[in-house]
């Protein structure tokens, strides 16, 4: 059983839902991220998403764009990010790590090497924002071979037929994008999101996470009523931007979201 499957199974057993924070690797530097990751777990993170910075993040709003720009001052390589995960993994064997980003850095690194080295470092899954099902055939043989989960995005524009196509190579969980828009932008209409999640559940047994526009404890509670996980990115990054990107601020904000 994969670490992701294990996590969702044990949460289900204790009738709990997952909280997934998103942080950008190397924002403001790799050292800081290295301190922030364990603090997120202490603050109540069940799974962590780490952003792989990219110069042209077309699906991200101003907050995550800015985080990416801060990170890119150090131009971290994917090996730097794998090292970060490896270090985290040496002290934490249970919390799944998901890498999220855009395709070009992965393509330049080499898709096969990426999948092999990610798994070796202790990465559990990957989300590539600009690799839709139409283009994933060059990538999925390597995720399957290495055992890396391919986490797929389903959006408000996905109808049942489209969801079927998206689910074809999905594993780990699926990520429902709550708004047709960019990260951290509009707030979602949660009644509609709830209906969309119900529709997705008719087509898959994979856990469903919801993200984009989730800002507060209230949002998290609402989303966790119908979804298996709530993802919080921009709000966390914004908080650390204002309060300082430290283990303490990361833990403080996450505890609030988790209701600890």
């Amino acid at each position: 059983m994969s670490r992701l499957d294990q996590t969702f199974a044990s949460l289900k057993q204790s009738d709990k839902k997952a909280l997934i924070p998103f942080v950008m690797a190397a924002d403001p530097d790799l050292e800081a991220t290295s301190r922030i990751l364990p603090a997120l777990v202490e603050g109540g993170a069940d799974i962590i998403e780490i952003g792989m910075p990219f110069s042209d993040p077309v699906a991200d709003g101003p907050t995550i764009q800015a985080a990416g720009l801060r990170a890119l001052k150090h131009d971290p390589s994917l090996d730097d990010i794998f090292n970060l995960v490896q270090k985290f993994r040496s002290e934490n064997a249970d919390t799944p790590i998901i890498l999220m980003g855009y395709y070009n850095p992965v393509y330049q690194y080499g898709v096969e090497n990426f999948c092999t080295n990610a798994v070796a470092a202790g990465v559990d899954g990957v989300i590539l924002v600009d690799l839709p099902p139409e283009e994933e055939d060059e990538f999925t043989p390597h995720t399957q071979k290495s055992g890396l989960s391919l986490i797929k995005l389903i959006t408000p524009t996905s109808d049942a037929a489209r969801i079927e196509t998206i689910l074809r190579n999905a594993s780990g969980f699926v990520y429902y994008v709550a708004v047709a828009g960019i990260t951290g932008d509009k707030s979602a209409q949660y009644d509609q999101v709830g209906q969309a999640v119900e529709k997705i559940r008719r087509q898959t047994d994979l856990p469903v996470a919801v993200g984009f526009g989730i800002k507060s404890r209230e949002d998290v509670v609402t989303v966790q009523k119908f979804a298996d996980a709530a993802v919080v990115g921009s709000a966390l990054i914004k908080y650390m931007q204002d309060q300082g990107a430290s283990a303490n601020s990361a833990k403080a904000f996450l505890s609030k979201l988790a209701g600890l």
């Binding site: 910075p53 990219f54 110069s55 042209d56 993040p57 077309v58 699906a59 991200d60 709003g61 764009q65 890119l72 131009d75 971290p76 390589s77 994917l78 855009y102 395709y103 070009n104 850095p105 992965v106 393509y107 330049q108 690194y109 924002v129 600009d130 690799l131 839709p132 099902p133 139409e134 283009e135 797929k152 995005l153 389903i154 959006t155 408000p156 524009t157 996905s158 109808d159 489209r162 998206i166 994008v177 047709a180 828009g181 960019i182 932008d185 509009k186």
Partner: protein
């Protein structure tokens, strides 16, 4: 198999092209493809497009024998005068086609990106004609260096949004346009200005711009009694070049030269020559040659010409480069500035800085080019918009 039979069903030109876009956009991209495939086989669509090209744009654009330049350089050089189109560049051919398609799809809001401002002006123009709201994304650096075009767009009723992310040039404007599109998928059509982006854009823009090369065949026969054996065009994203080249791709005796912007020189790293100085990667919906770092971060391009200042190139050019069907060469900022002034004095034509690169390269390579009997260069835009940039580069004060 004809080299013209690209793209395939997946929108690929060899390994290039494709549809690398966020999932939110995928259903819409597939819808655009379906609508375009229906439109291109619809006689009414074609009739309306042709009618507007003739009576509104002023096509066909003339083929002109540049006799003084020819004599001076020892070449037989013709200009395809696309700078005489309404709005002053080839860009409007494509805007008309795409806005007609948007109308057909029932879209009520148009967005576009622009670098030099020519595509923005052309889109704003067509939107005024069809009474559609138009928002043009333009990098803040370009807003400054192309201020006359910003004012023109506003006069035409468009909203110009200055983009401050990144270096504030064309790539950043395109990112922002894509973000807007992701957020407004229901009512919005994105009019992409060059033969790049997700499928079907590279094919669609090529088809709308191919009028340039198609007109050239009968014009060439009439004026010179023969077909050209060499074609030259500047390349940013590559829409004017593919429009000129495409109808001739199967004519083996026609040699083609695509001129990229070498900026301050390719060896300096400050250039916009994706084929000569980049490698394949994925950006803005397609796989193509890109200027990028070892880690896959996109680098900033540099060119004195805002219209060429883009770190990528249309995927069909990447394919034609690998196939060695087109020779991709380059000209520097200085070559373009020299050609700009030369063309003004020799032919009484102020070329835009973009085609000035094509002419600059011809001037630098005239000895090699003497093997060709008839060369046609696409004069794809006029230089009025560039007079401030040129004056600045030449340290000339135009206020006195």
């Amino acid at each position: 198999m004809s080299i013209k039979s690209q793209p395939d069903d997946h929108g690929r030109f060899g390994i290039y092209g494709g549809r690398f876009v966020p999932e939110t956009l995928m259903p819409l991209i597939l819808e655009v493809e379906k609508a375009y495939n229906a439109a291109k086989n619809d006689d009414d669509f074609k009739a309306e497009f042709d009618q507007l090209l003739k009576h509104y744009v002023g096509r066909p654009s003339p083929l002109y024998h540049a006799k003084r330049v020819s004599e001076d350089l020892g070449l037989n050089l013709y200009f395809k005068r696309d700078e005489l189109n309404h709005t002053g560049a080839h860009k409007i051919n494509n805007c008309l086609g795409q806005v007609l398609l948007a109308k057909r799809m029932g879209k009520t809001r148009i967005i576009a990106e622009t670098g030099a401002g020519q595509h923005g002006v052309a889109t704003a123009t067509v939107c005024a004609l069809f009474n559609l709201p138009c928002i043009v994304f333009m990098g803040e650096t370009d807003v400054k260096r192309q201020s006359p075009n910003v004012f023109r767009m506003r006069l035409l009723g468009a909203e110009v949004r200055s983009v401050t992310s990144g270096t504030g040039t064309l790539k950043d404007a395109m990112n922002e346009a894509l973000r807007d599109w992701v957020s407004n998928v229901d009512d919005t059509f994105y009019v992409i200005g060059t033969a790049a982006g997700p499928h079907p854009y590279p094919e669609m823009v090529r088809d709308f711009q191919s009028i340039i090369g198609e007109e050239l065949k009968p014009q060439s026969q009439e004026l010179a009694g023969r077909q050209p054996d060499a074609l030259v065009a500047c390349i940013g994203g590559g829409s004017n070049a593919i429009g000129l080249f495409y109808p001739f791709l199967d004519d083996k005796n026609v040699t083609m030269y695509g001129v990229e912007a070498a900026g301050r020189g390719i060896e300096t790293g400050e250039h916009a020559a994706s084929l000569n100085g980049g490698k394949p990667g994925v950006l803005h919906g397609n796989r193509t040659y890109l200027l990028q770092s070892e880690t896959g971060q996109i680098k900033d391009a540099h060119s004195i010409s805002a219209g060429l200042d883009y770190p990528g190139i249309g995927p069909e050019h990447s394919f034609l480069h690998d196939q060695k069907r087109v020779n991709y060469v380059s000209a520097t900022d200085d070559d373009a500035l020299t050609a700009f002034q030369y063309c003004a004095r020799m032919e009484g034509i102020l070329p835009a800085l973009e085609p000035s690169h094509a002419l600059g390269w011809i001037m630098q390579n005239r000895e090699m080019l003497k093997k060709h009997e008839m060369i046609v260069m696409n004069m794809c835009g006029r230089g009025d918009k560039d007079i401030f940039t040129v004056a600045d580069a030449l340290n000339m004060d135009i206020s006195s």
